[in-house]
């Protein structure tokens, strides 16, 4: 078990030398870092949803009805729900990066709080958007 062995390191700060995921114990900040990357990649693919919807609308009534049918189906709604969460979570993760970019929030307590807030707020906002969506439609 290779650990970084710097004299004077506090026991809780001793880290494994290997960065590999099966060796490094999971932390909130790690999980949210990975989540930022996964949601970014999901949004990358998800941009096709907007393209499909706009092209269908630009193509005429039949194509649009087909698109609306798909997005309104159970699978379509599930995908859109996931896209909403990915977008909001990635946005909040981005705002977390902005906070770090101006030099704030680097201490352990803030890192932990910010990481947990991203998840809690993205879940809450996603539900809010969908409640509003169902209320207006």
């Amino acid at each position: 078990m290779a650990e970084a062995n710097v004299p004077g390191t506090r026991p809780e700060d001793i880290r494994p030398l290997s960065p590999h995921l099966q060796i490094y114990r999971w932390t909130w900040t790690m999980a949210m870092s990975v989540a930022h990357r996964i949601t970014g990649a999901a949004l990358y693919v998800g941009s096709l949803l907007l393209v499909i919807w706009l092209l269908a609308l630009a193509s005429g009534p039949e194509a649009f009805e087909t698109a609306q049918w798909f997005f309104g189906s159970f699978l379509g709604r599930l995908i859109l729900f996931g896209y909403t969460w990915a977008l909001l979570h990635h946005m909040l993760g981005g705002i977390r990066h902005f906070i770090w970019d101006v030099g704030l929030g680097f201490d352990a307590a803030s890192r932990h709080t910010l990481a947990r807030l991203t998840l809690i707020a993205s879940a809450a906002l996603t539900l809010l958007v969908w409640v509003i969506g169902y209320a207006v439609s």
Binding site: Y44, S47, V51, A58
Partner: protein, 131 residues
């Protein structure tokens, strides 16, 4: 590079243009710039999609072609496409180390340009196409 002690060069002038792809700082900066723009644009986009839920063909046309909505959609498309291209390039550079890397970076740019072109074309056709 010459010793850093006795020089009137600023540190910035020495690092500028010397990123891993000789453009590291500008890549980082554009990622941040588009990310900042994406915050209000993505929120507007979500609001537009919520307004469009369950709407029929004519309603959806009217929504997309109204000037504010069309402009916000176009800005979101352009900012997000550029941002996702930069972001995916970082992911590729992190994980793809073989000869496939160059191909992946090229494919990434093609994908982002295609997404942007298709979406912009659709918004312009809906707005000006006399539909």
């Amino acid at each position: 590079m010459a010793s850093t002690k006795h020089t009137l060069r600023t540190p910035l002038s020495r690092v500028r243009g010397l990123g891993s792809a000789r453009s590291g700082t500008s890549h980082f900066w554009h990622q941040r710039l588009t990310a900042v723009a994406n915050v209000p644009l993505a929120l507007a986009f979500i609001a537009i999609v919520v307004c469009a839920t369950g709407s029929g063909y004519e309603e959806a046309l009217a929504l997309v072609r109204s000037p504010l909505v069309a402009i916000l959609l176009l800005l979101f498309i352009l900012s997000a496409a550029y941002h996702m291209r930069l972001g995916m390039q970082v992911i590729i550079e992190d994980y793809v180390h073989s000869g496939a890397k160059v191909a992946a970076v090229i494919a990434n740019t093609f994908f982002a340009v295609l997404v942007a072109a298709a979406a912009v074309f659709a918004v312009l056709k809906i707005t000006f196409g006399g539909m």
